[in-house]
Symmetry: D2
Subunit: 367 residues, 4 copies
Amino acid sequence: MSHNSFGHLFRVTTWGESHGPAIGCIVDGCPPRIPLSEADIQPWLDRRRPGQSKFTTQRQEPDAVRILSGVFQGQTTGTPIALTIDNMDQRSKDYGEIAERFRPGHADLTYELKYGISDWRGGGRSSARETASRVAAGAVARLVLGAGVRIRGALVQIGARAIDRARWDWDQVDANQFFCPDPAAAASWEEYLGEVRKAGSSVGAVIEVVAEGVPPGLGAPIYGKLDADLAAAFMGINAVKGVEIGAGFAAAALSGEENADQMRMRDGEVVFGSNQAGGILGGISTGQPVVARFAVKPTSSILTPRQGVNRSGQEVDVSTRGRHDPCVGIRAVPVGEAMMACVLADHLLRQRAQNPDAPERARLPRN
Amino acid sequence: MSHNSFGHLFRVTTWGESHGPAIGCIVDGCPPRIPLSEADIQPWLDRRRPGQSKFTTQRQEPDAVRILSGVFQGQTTGTPIALTIDNMDQRSKDYGEIAERFRPGHADLTYELKYGISDWRGGGRSSARETASRVAAGAVARLVLGAGVRIRGALVQIGARAIDRARWDWDQVDANQFFCPDPAAAASWEEYLGEVRKAGSSVGAVIEVVAEGVPPGLGAPIYGKLDADLAAAFMGINAVKGVEIGAGFAAAALSGEENADQMRMRDGEVVFGSNQAGGILGGISTGQPVVARFAVKPTSSILTPRQGVNRSGQEVDVSTRGRHDPCVGIRAVPVGEAMMACVLADHLLRQRAQNPDAPERARLPRN
Amino acid sequence: MSHNSFGHLFRVTTWGESHGPAIGCIVDGCPPRIPLSEADIQPWLDRRRPGQSKFTTQRQEPDAVRILSGVFQGQTTGTPIALTIDNMDQRSKDYGEIAERFRPGHADLTYELKYGISDWRGGGRSSARETASRVAAGAVARLVLGAGVRIRGALVQIGARAIDRARWDWDQVDANQFFCPDPAAAASWEEYLGEVRKAGSSVGAVIEVVAEGVPPGLGAPIYGKLDADLAAAFMGINAVKGVEIGAGFAAAALSGEENADQMRMRDGEVVFGSNQAGGILGGISTGQPVVARFAVKPTSSILTPRQGVNRSGQEVDVSTRGRHDPCVGIRAVPVGEAMMACVLADHLLRQRAQNPDAPERARLPRN
Amino acid sequence: MSHNSFGHLFRVTTWGESHGPAIGCIVDGCPPRIPLSEADIQPWLDRRRPGQSKFTTQRQEPDAVRILSGVFQGQTTGTPIALTIDNMDQRSKDYGEIAERFRPGHADLTYELKYGISDWRGGGRSSARETASRVAAGAVARLVLGAGVRIRGALVQIGARAIDRARWDWDQVDANQFFCPDPAAAASWEEYLGEVRKAGSSVGAVIEVVAEGVPPGLGAPIYGKLDADLAAAFMGINAVKGVEIGAGFAAAALSGEENADQMRMRDGEVVFGSNQAGGILGGISTGQPVVARFAVKPTSSILTPRQGVNRSGQEVDVSTRGRHDPCVGIRAVPVGEAMMACVLADHLLRQRAQNPDAPERARLPRN
């Protein structure tokens, strides 16, 4: 049991604070002989990198990853892969005031209550900066899963403004600064979020992550169900307040007839008429796309003063100055993809251990 | 890593199938010298017990728990507590047909894809019957938490019909067969669900679980966050498709100003003006009530025929005969409470290990 | 992390006290579709069963195992296998005095120091009776390993009397009541141990366990080395004070030349000229037999009075009356075999997860 | 489950290869507000550092540790502590030949069998260099344990030459280059080992580690026993082939009367007349010194040619050139101390979680 580790067989342990010299992670359990270099990881980090639009934090970080172990002559060796990312743009002075104040909506107070000390510079350990390590680990996880598994995320709601799913176009996701699959929504958000930003306010968002090509049979009932592990993975991302799989909360309002994903046979394989289940039944993947969504609360750092308290137990007003990020949910898209990749890679290895012949059963029912 | 274990220091391992001779669990890590007898566990099992209303399965089970180890002279000894519940009403004949058919919405197919074998009698391991073990373990967890922590659950939505939160009355929860805190909603549901049942259909539900008196500081960032562990706990309950904490998915549509739970000082303690956070910031409890909700899909076993396939790869129609449960979400209320209790007990022990002096910091900021 | 669990992917959780109603274990992670019934487990329990000779405890226990879950139509299903063994011959009255006295060499005092309570009846949780669960789990582990892996144990020393290894004959092990591979030593021990027993004294023993047919490549460096896991497994058996692999402590006195197991090629496979390594290099199996030994201290329950203290802090003399077991090491042989089987089964699954193609590399170096 | 992690609540994850850019570890679960800087760690690393005598490897490494996270304003914060040590003197050219050859006694072959690839430079991951990370983690563990727990190690045997325990003087340990507590033995070893070195040969050693001041009650029966965890910790150190606690293997030859550590009361505390148990009964610490020994095999790298095979499956002779270390056991002394510290720190936290009031029971039996 390690507080800062994630996964069991494909296991990621992260370390580092927002304003320390570096952050990083160790990826343990990676199978050997997978070609790996920094070039396989950097593009994913670049997607998450701050400072790329006016809607994300202006902190300038190259987020250049280095591999310090576990790779030899261009291939993984099966030993732990140490990845580090130096912190370059720390500007601690911007954050000096939070040394004394507990900001509403932030973890300042709870870290103090728990530990009696915290590295308050830039949020320290609770900073979203930690998610860079997740993205780096997720890049390795994608290689473990192989090209047959495709994991993509998209922003499907900002504030109360949801996309029109009828306009979903994956190709649009990288064509706007919101990872938005609906170009009309993206255009609308630009204006809307611009106003939010100017008002010094913030809004939340909903992210959807879809994994196609997931082999059937992944998931370890009863307490290592694929959906349970995904729920922990997404809920553990900074600022996330809700997670759902497939129909999710809307499933409550469905009838049993509507909810049942009916099955037919096609060329010896089971095909489904719908995917209310989000690709998971009984905690085990069905072979359909795994579909998950998570909700991110509005950025707590806003320009409007809010009531807080300080370390001396005095009531104070707190507002953010300097950098301001009107919707932290945007950069959560690559983080959500990474967590999906890590969960699936872990379950792929777990499946191999107990059920090495499961791939042979993918074409089922056997004729 | 154990597929059938839950928790780290307060750790529950369950076993058993719906139609085997018994089900049960081992509770490991329980502190010693806690008074414990079957009478402390049985009332919670009785709440979950089937056959108590026309809206839950008619299977008749006394669900009488026995303690086989870990208790001596009426107190826990710190060694593993083995709890068993005999299966009495198995009626395997009712389920004979599912030996051959994969039912839409059920785990029949995925167990087969994963294991190549499954105990199909009554759903086997994937039956909701397994949750009785969770409820038994949760009863022990409540004792670990002590009387200062109060955990209560309620049904807040059936189908599309949500309660009116303005009418919330905890005393009503045990006064109707739905665990519903709104008496008007309960009355409406009775009629509505009666129609659903007669139609041979089913609907989903949303359950809310609230824990009051949770000490601040519980939760282990970054990957053992209290909310992340709760998300896994609830998502791992049969038929759950969504989990949210505090404002949950609605947080996406809030502004930063609305979402910030402002803080004031009262008698040397921090008090909050709202609880959008659901009692958790940065994965760590704040001392406010921990509030979580989860969505349960409609019962997959319905009388209307749905398209499925059989083990021979033939397309078949599947419908349920005999027992029929129009809303499995009802009995999920005590299960949700139990999972909340198990998560909190585990984190209480984890907190003690690393931060034994945290309770002294609960009154904070120190004056 | 569970105090009462062993293994990671093939994971055994035991429960029960010496004089409670039953003891048992849950075997989690077992692969599916392995034929399993009580008849596969009982013979191993019968080997360990007490009351079979005048040199082991006279407690009469049938040790009849029951499978309560995880097996369907004669095959494992991949879900947890619950095994129970009822306690029949408890005679708590024999042990009444130890309710008050801390016996030298026993865990009475330390359980009290740790937990402030203990089920003192027959040693409670610290009784050797718990090892029956290990033997039952080990029987399942043998089936996971398959017929190609042969695990056998033998008693190689009682008191100061070691066997003559030149006379080692595996067929003799079941031909005497000591699991002794040297018939001359067995004869000598019978007389010697008879005298020890008459004198109300006891002696220790050394057990050797050998696993043949272990695939090369098992073991997870750096902290899940095969030898490290074996060391924990054997040291965790009651009364064990030392563990060694291959040459063991004698390796300290060897020269580098003597210690090196030289390699030659035969029919495309590496063969070794010796096995000082005990089949493990760098924590990973070589394909040679895995050879381990462990030392068991003399039974602490002896008829000679020894100085102890009681719960009231008074100095008292303690001696055992009634049942008396002059050498607990004898019955440790089947327990040692079981622990070897559990460790190897766990590592076999771990190997599959990360290195599914390792078996193809067993013939190495590739020509 | 992580192959490269050790411990549960005080958890160490190491990474790095002998000839990569650096090695390091993450220490997770460390309690907050412990003063910590590099100066607390460096002295322990300096004790283990190579190149300090003619009897240890001549590799020149400053082994300068850096703390990259988890410490703020001179104190631990409860978040993961990342420690790194750069590799400076790698001289890969010295090792080029082993790229092709499997050296007897080394892990070259088994890494290849397991992974199908290995970083062969300097032994890669299986190099003793990894133990520097253990020593660094152990330095943190000592701070968790506090000044009341004193952990010291000593070399008690080189080759067949054991010390005279009657001459044991802890002050001598740092007065010679062998960590030897017997000055006469140290003098004899100097001559003896000089000859071994000149002959291009090597010998093994036995190390003893003693922890004084260990609180009673540490250890988690049944499968997390303190002695079982120590056994794994020591057996997992490179080249170790045997571990024993207290009387160890000699216990086999003791009578029950000799082995029983008799108890008397002194000033309200239990005192023991001997310590055959090595401070552990039933897997739980008694409050006596915890005494463990482990045996290290002779260095496998010797100048004498030995029969090996190469990657092409050809029979070759293998001998070491260049650096040569006649007794790797010497530098295992600080490593053994570090592992003892890590195990005890982990168990201290585990004890706090389940039995926070155990320290109040240390004076027992209560009067």
